[in-house]
Amino acid sequence: MSAHDLHAGHGDHHDHDDLHVTMGDYVKGFILAVILTVIPFYLVMSGAIEDRATGLVVLGAFAIVQVVVHMVYFLHMNGKIQGGWTMLSTVFTAVFLAIAVAGTLWVMYQMNAHMMPTHESAPAVSQPAAADTAAPAVQAPAASEAAAPAPAEQPAHGAHGSN
């Protein structure tokens, strides 16, 4: 930590505002955000998307793009501000968020798939299938995303037992 990086002088950073914003950024961001909001609402409200798996992929993609648009145009993110620490902390948060959310959903849906057959006789057919999906899911977490809607039916189904 050399004195060079630090701002030891008090006087010279008064009145200093490193944030420079432009009208163009806000207007561009707003137009993109409106487009990226209107399309998913239209797709769902008009009934263009009916099934949950398509919805998750399409709406999720729009949401991720819109988050990036907000980050760039409204929060003025780039790799340079604060010497890159802002970007670094954001990337860390994004990775943590992905692991926490995807990990939670994966574990909980896998658990449902394994637990439910013991309550009723009907899902017994799916038991070997559930055991099969557990192994490939370790190699490809994406597979569990695609498989998520199927076990998602089961909590409602077994709700009488667990609630």
Binding site: F41, A100, L105
Partner: protein, 210 residues
């Protein structure tokens, strides 16, 4: 710690000894980075709430489902309020950059009104749901729904309190350095809430009716 000046040895008797830094060292604009780190930690709270909703969001306990409860046109209006308030905050930031106090205050006031409209619609929705018997106690779905959306709404409420406080500070002291720092932080907070809302309307409302 190269700034510590002390002369060991014979010269020590001549020069006054200083065992501490003459000035506190600050990294440049440490407040913005610190506030950003707070927002990232807030992100983790929302990550936990989204994950909870993701797990419990379909456990209706034979109660009402999202498809039966959610009114998407109301959510679209709410989304519009929040998105508009984002750009009006942007206009306040542009006025701040031009050192225009009255312009900044005007756009902040418009942002505040849009924020209030958002909260009003959200409270109306919650009241309507509870009136129909869709209370947080009804099912795991509704518990996680009210916790997630309510936490976002609480953030907006605190953002509004901060906004009003800042408007009073700016009108009293003008756009001094401290107020510029505060408005920059509030700008981050406000836009961050809009980012969280993207997740809410996509995964809670739009996915909820599918």
């Amino acid at each position: 710690m190269s700034d510590i000046r002390h002369n060991a040895g014979a010269a020590g008797a001549l020069a006054p000894r200083e065992y501490h830094l003459a000035h506190e060292p600050h990294p440049e604009n440490g407040t913005s980075l610190g506030f950003w780190l707070y927002l990232m930690s807030d992100c983790l709270i929302f990550a936990a709430l989204f994950a909870t909703f993701g797990v419990l969001g379909r456990n209706y306990a034979a109660g009402p489902t999202g498809k039966e409860l959610f009114d998407l046109s109301l959510v679209a209006i709410n989304t519009a309020f929040l998105l508009l308030s984002s750009i009006t905050f942007g206009f306040a930031m542009l006025q701040k950059q031009k050192k225009n106090v009255s312009g900044t205050l005007t756009w902040l006031a418009i942002t505040g009104v849009l924020g209030l409209c958002f909260l009003g619609v959200e409270l109306y929705e919650f009241h309507h749901l509870i009136h129909q018997g869709a209370t947080p106690q009804r099912s795991a779905f509704l518990s996680s729904f009210f916790t997630l959306v309510g936490t976002h709404g609480l953030h907006v409420t605190f953002g509004l309190i901060w906004l009003v406080t800042l408007m009073i500070q700016i009108s009293k002291h003008g756009l001094i350095e401290a107020n510029v720092r505060r408005i920059n932080c509030l700008s981050m907070f406000w836009h961050f809430l809009d980012v969280v809302w993207i997740g809410v309307f996509t995964f809670v409302y739009l996915m909820g009716v599918l």
